[in-house]
């Protein structure tokens, strides 16, 4: 039948959404946080996080398959109304505050690296209240399809960027391979697993996919591909700038685009990368905005949740304006990540445990 807005999305669109949510992290202040902890072994952190989250994801997939509904409904079903609401509140607070701080961070990058004279508010409004709100308002289908159209381009340009800087890389910079020591690296990996915790959060969209298999395939790919990309880029940053110099670079991706050369003629391609990056950013924030609205809608039992998009977008711009400088925002972000890592790692295990317990009780 013609697909008159069945509201469902396919595996490729879902993968593209995940890629847009997570892979874009290589471009913001995330690598700096990771380099701070992982030193030359920073590239292992995303992989360790991904391994840990993969375990968590397996638990999530098990429950999703069993209940065949979205994560929110499962939380309510398993954890009860009161406690479930608390969990959803936590999720909403994490997602929303992470979006607000990220929005600030992205606007800071633009102002620091490209438009030093532009007002911060203008960039934030254009990004979140403008493009992201519009895209989120067109619905999840629009987010997924737009992401699907542009994600192949992002992948291609990432490869081009690395090729562009390839002759300036020194592989020896990556040693000592274990950086601060194995234990430290593993600890760091656990700490930063919230970077990829989106893979658990998107469980709330599970009922919007056509089939469970689509969800499983897309989420497994959507975890590993961004993690691998992050690992690759962290390695490239270290190989490019060397340790400890790399610690002093605030936004390594944007410095990398400045160094990239395509032949001898086009040696300043950073504006093109800026444009592509911002298309990605618009989709990234649209996804976050949409998920925030979805969570808040469920939290306060408000069915027409797209109407929450506008107030949430406005609020997030306001919250984003709060930190007095980019460094403060980054500190808050780190705190948020470390505190929410545990929540997202343990939530699926917790739900799975309740499920087992209840099953045991019934028998």
């Amino acid at each position: 039948m013609i697909r008159v807005s069945d509201g469902k999305i396919g595996p490729r669109e879902f993968f593209a959404i995940l890629y847009g949510m997570m892979a874009i992290r290589v471009t913001d202040a995330t690598p700096s946080l990771m380099l701070e902890d992982g030193l030359t072994a920073a590239w292992m952190l995303p992989l360790i996080s991904a391994i840990v989250l993969f375990g968590s994801l397996m638990f999530l997939l098990a429950i999703l398959k069993k209940y065949n509904m979205g994560l929110i409904d499962i939380v309510f079903e398993l954890a009860g109304n009161g406690f479930g609401r608390l969990i959803i509140l936590f999720m909403f607070v994490t997602v929303f505050s992470s979006m607000s701080l990220n929005g600030r961070s992205y606007s800071d990058i633009v102002i620091t690296m490209y438009y030093p004279k532009s007002p911060l508010l203008l960039i934030m409004v254009a990004l979140i209240l403008g493009a992201a709100l519009f895209i989120a308002h067109r619905g999840l289908e629009a987010i997924g399809r737009t992401a699907l159209l542009v994600v192949p381009i992002f992948m291609l340009t990432s490869v081009l960027l690395i090729i562009g800087v390839a002759n300036q890389l020194d592989p020896l910079f990556i040693f000592p391979i274990a950086g601060p020591g194995e234990l430290e690296v593993i600890k760091g990996g656990l700490e930063f697993s919230a970077f990829f915790a989106d893979i658990i959060i998107v469980g709330v969209l599970a009922d919007r996919l056509r089939t469970f298999n689509a969800y499983r395939t897309a989420s497994i790919w959507g975890l590993w591909v961004p993690a691998a990309k992050m690992a690759l880029f962290l390695a490239v940053y270290v190989m490019m700038f060397d340790y400890p110099a790399v610690r002093n670079i605030a936004y390594p991706y944007h410095h990398l685009t400045r160094m990239a050369m395509v032949g001898s003629l086009a040696n300043h391609m950073e504006a093109l990368f800026l444009a592509l990056w911002f298309v990605g950013a618009a989709i990234h924030f649209a996804t976050y905005l949409y998920i925030s609205a979805l969570l808040l809608g469920k939290l306060i039992n408000y069915q027409p949740f797209p109407q929450l998009l506008f107030p949430l977008a406005g609020l997030s711009v306001l919250i984003g304006m709060l930190p007095e400088n980019p460094l403060m925002g980054d500190q808050l972000r780190k705190l948020l990540l470390q505190s929410s890592s545990g929540l997202f790692l343990l939530l699926p295990v917790f739900l799975w445990g309740i499920d087992r317990f209840r099953k045991g009780g019934k028998e």
């Binding site: 039948m1 013609i2 697909r3 008159v4 807005s5 999305i9 396919g10 490729r12 669109e13 633009v110 490209y114 438009y115 532009s118 203008l122 960039i123 254009a126 990004l127 403008g130 493009a131 519009f134 895209i135 067109r138 619905g139 289908e141 629009a142 987010i143 997924g144 399809r145 737009t146 699907l148 159209l149 542009v150 003629l265 086009a266 300043h268 391609m269 950073e270 504006a271 093109l272 800026l274 444009a275 592509l276 990056w277 911002f278 298309v279 950013a281 618009a282 989709i283 649209a286």
Partner: protein, 519 residues
């Protein structure tokens, strides 16, 4: 979306026989004079000389009969040969038969299409469409004979969708001939041709064609419902109809398209689209369309694989240039000058040195002049056509630069943009890019590449979320569905065995590629 669905499934059923003949007795009386008077009154006889009568006596039954037709609509030679002569020359004995009109229709008239009618409204509709009505004294039925004789031009070559290689016939203003052109392309007994009437006061017939075994019934139903909802006194051409059946008349993105090539319409039919034809319209209206329908041309499939794809790549580049070139120039010059190689940048700076305007103003000035030039080029009579070229080339190209109104580089930018927009095959797509271009220019002026990126993302989100009769605009690419991958590029014909599933054709496979080289 909710509103759209409501409009789609709710609402009352329009259409029907709204022929502007209220107050007419629905059935004929058995008196010939009475019936004829009724026709005369309807056609405002005698002030209106359009209605013609020919009274005669059918010798074999010795009854009076009246032949009516409308001047200009019916073909008098056909009436002579197929109606009047057989009636006068017959010597069949017709007493004792059950019905005189049936007998006349079946065994006396020699025309191929004739039927019986019982009411005035239908009879009047038939008359204005060129048919001839025969009324026999004492009978309550009228016989209609098809004697349509509107003037037609002959089938000519396409003017908008020109190809170097491929068939050369184009649709003309007659729906009957257009249907025949299409039947000639698609020789399949499952090609259904339904007829619907639109317009209340002067009804026009719209033919809806689709392949019964391919087109999705829900889609056909969808199109028919939008047609039946059209409420307008008169719709003269398909172009007017196009806007009336659209779900987003204000949108820049079209949801239907027209083609003047029967072969193209035929290939749309075979992919499960619905084709509409109408008298007076020298083109076919294709109902659900996607981006690809507008991006592809007929020739892509006629040319060899490499040439066809090369043309597509060129067109894709042209599409992007036409959409983004002025905005990119503006963004680079005002926000990101470091992108330009130093020598070129010095040259630009030197050429801009004497231009008093900011780049945006310069750009808009040139862009608007170009749009005026284009509009003038369409309206100007052919003998004056060369004038436009001279005015464009000399005044805009050279004089503007010499007068220090614009910089030479900008002329190049605008020229590339203009040229690119001519390379876009579909009118709807071309107009869309022309208007969107200005939005991009404003965005680039405000925020450089960041503004461009945000508007581009928003535009993509809009484009991917809209639907034409339920079919997403960018399907089957996004949302992804299995298809023959005839999207940006096309695979060789042998590999295009899958129909685009986003149209949900009932029969998904064109031809199974089994064993070895396949069919």
């Amino acid at each position: 979306m909710g509103g759209f669905l409501n409009r789609l499934f709710g609402g009352d059923e329009g259409g029907g026989d709204n022929t502007g003949t209220e107050g007419l007795p629905t059935s004929f009386s058995d008196s010939l004079d009475c019936n004829v008077d009724q026709f005369k009154a309807e056609f405002r006889y005698p002030e209106n000389s359009a209605l013609k009568f020919r009274e005669l006596l059918i010798p074999s039954v010795n009854r009076r009969a009246m032949v009516l037709f409308v001047d200009g609509a019916a073909d008098t030679v056909q009436i002579n040969d197929y109606v009047i002569r057989p009636l006068l020359e017959t010597d069949r004995k017709m007493e004792g038969l059950q019905s005189l009109p049936v007998e006349i229709k079946n065994n006396i008239l020699t025309g191929s299409g004739s039927e019986l009618l019982e009411g005035f409204p239908q009879a009047i509709k038939k008359l204005v469409n060129g048919s001839t009505i025969i009324l026999v004294d004492g009978e309550e039925q009228a016989i209609v004979v098809e004697t349509e004789g509107f003037e037609n031009r002959s089938v000519a070559e396409p003017t908008r969708e020109v190809v170097i290689k491929g068939p050369r016939s184009a649709f003309i203003e007659s729906a009957a001939i257009n249907r025949s052109l299409l039947r000639r392309q698609v020789k399949d007994h499952r090609l259904v041709s339904e007829t619907m009437t639109v317009g209340k006061e002067s009804p026009q017939e719209v033919s809806i064609l689709y392949m019964a075994h391919i087109a999705d019934p829900a889609l056909v139903q969808n199109v028919k419902e939008s047609l039946s909802k059209v409420e307008k006194d008169a719709i003269l051409t398909l172009s007017a109809m196009e806007e009336l059946i659209e779900s987003r008349p204000y949108s820049l993105f079209p949801s239907t398209m027209t083609t003047e090539r029967p072969d193209r319409a035929g290939s749309f039919l075979l992919e499960g689209h619905v084709v509409m034809l109408m008298d007076n319209s020298p083109d076919a209206l294709i109902a659900p369309i996607t981006f690809w329908s507008m991006f592809h041309t007929a020739e892509d499939q006629f040319l060899r694989w490499a040439f066809g794809n090369f043309a597509r790549i060129v067109r894709l580049i042209a599409l992007f240039l036409s959409l983004l070139m002025p905005a990119l120039y503006l963004a680079v010059v005002t926000f990101h000058p470091e992108m330009i190689p130093t020598d070129l940048m010095l040259a630009i700076a030197a050429s801009r040195e004497r231009v008093p305007f900011p780049t945006l103003l310069e750009l808009l000035l040139m862009e608007i002049t170009f749009e005026i030039l284009r509009e003038a080029g369409i309206r100007v009579p052919t003998p004056l056509g060369t004038t436009i070229g001279i005015v464009g080339a000399l005044i805009l190209g050279q004089a503007a630069v010499q007068a220090n109104l614009v910089s030479p580089l900008l002329v190049v930018v605008i020229a590339i943009t203009g040229l690119s927009s001519f390379a876009i095959p579909d009118v709807g797509l071309s107009v869309m890019t022309r208007i969107l271009r200005f939005i991009f220019v404003i965005a680039a002026h405000l925020l450089g590449f960041v503004g461009l990126a945000l508007v581009l993302a928003a535009m993509l989100a809009y484009a991917t979320s809209i639907k034409s009769f339920g079919v997403p605009f960018f399907s089957p690419l996004a949302p992804h569905f299995p298809s023959s991958r005839d999207l940006f590029l096309r695979p060789i014909l042998k590999k295009q065995w899958l129909r685009p599933l986003s149209m949900s054709p009932k029969d998904q496979i064109r031809d199974e590629p089994e064993g070895g080289d396949g069919p």
